[in-house]
Symmetry: C2
Subunit: 211 residues, 2 copies
DNA sequence: CAAATTTTTGACCGATTGGACAAACGTTAG
DNA sequence: CTAACGTTTGTCCAATCGGTCAAAAATTTG
């Protein structure tokens, strides 16, 4: 055992080409969904022929599966970093900010994930009920601790996490709608900063006027 | 002029069958997306043969288009009802509640809409930049009035509306994930009431502990 | 009733799909 | 050089797709 991993041994070309395909597939899958995407589209986006693509990934589903596995790791990273050290409100604020930055910088990943969930998560259901639930339960316990200590208001930690996911991912998944409604001026590059400011106030202070 | 509408004249059977098809198509489109759905699937769900379905809707896209037109009317109804009479905080609270009820009672409609937006809204883009933007701008002005009057805290009204959309529709679009994370106990029928309680507190009070 | 009209279906079509396969091409080691 | 191996492509295939069409069946109309 020299490599230390059980991953299949790949040549340099294989690594590069597989990466190229995954990048192209992310683009295609995230905008057309799994069934709405064709191998030809992915192959063309990757600059190679269909049989050539199938040399690196035997089935269309293999590409999607590889993409999903990588996605979940990076996608949940911000939540994993949420921990007990530091001020709770600051911790939550920076979690929200980081999630919003991911929506801004990785909208395709967000849409890929949204597509999968929308269609009933047929391919990652076990992960949701397993790994994801475990992680969320763990972080919900941390948040509950903050509430007991009087550091933040008492609410439902699970729905708090949901609302952070929903509000931040909205700017990736519904980007077209957001830009259409905001119009050319307010819908420009500054919209993420506006969103960050708004979300910070919403989650910290709510809408009640200051007494 | 006896009918008062310019809709094509239809027999009783046509009305019934068209309704049957639209109901079936809503089910199929909302879970598979437009490109991911086949006419055969819709026909089978509607309990008729494919050529028979095509007798009522000439093209697959016609079904989707009809579905979308109906959807937008009912979908924006809660926002239309938001107006200047009554207490602002109460008004917003009841808007959130109504949107959450729609996510609970019409999840398929929500997913149909989400699917369309996710894929770049190719079929309803003009509506977003036109009718929808106008409506939102109008309501944003109302909310701004409330802020000037000191009735609610000053924030960005557009992003406030986005956050209400995002948090409520999350319980329809990401229902699978919500139920998986909450587990069998907390993920049962009571999850919408929990969500309602949480969202009310979030939007009114935020997370800061009471002084 | 019978004629006219509407509704339903089986058979079919061209286009596109995911995927297989063998042959050709390129690269490298001896 | 040549043999071995990794890479690329043209061609092909069966299945599925959206949609057509003529004819049969059912319904409505007179």
């Amino acid at each position: 055992m020299t490599t230390g991993t059980d991953a299949p041994r790949r040549t340099r070309i294989q690594q590069e080409k597989r990466e190229l395909i995954l990048e192209a597939a992310l683009e295609v899958f995230s905008t057309n969904g799994f069934r709405g995407s064709t191998i030809d589209q992915i192959a063309e986006a990757a600059g190679m022929s269909k049989p050539n693509l199938l040399y690196y990934f035997r089935r269309k589903e293999d590409i999607h599966e590889t993409l999903m596995q990588r996605l979940l790791d990076t996608w949940l990273a911000p939540l994993r970093e949420l921990d007990d050290i530091g001020d709770p409100l600051t911790e939550l604020r920076s979690y929200i900010r980081r999630k919003l930055e991911m929506a801004r910088d990785f909208p395709r990943e967000s849409r890929l994930f949204a597509n999968e969930i929308l269609q009933g998560a047929p391919r990652i259901m076990p992960l949701l009920a397993g790994e994801l639930k475990t992680l969320v339960d763990e972080k919900a316990a941390v948040i509950k601790g903050w509430m007991r200590a009087g550091k933040i208001a008492r609410t439902d930690p699970w729905h708090l996490i949901f609302s952070i996911w929903a509000t931040t991912q909205h700017y990736a998944d519904f980007d077209v709608q957001v830009r259409a409604v905001l119009g050319p001026n307010r819908g420009g590059d500054g919209r993420f900063e506006d969103a960050a400011r708004f979300l910070e106030q919403l989650f910290l202070e709510g809408l009640k006027p200051k007494g």
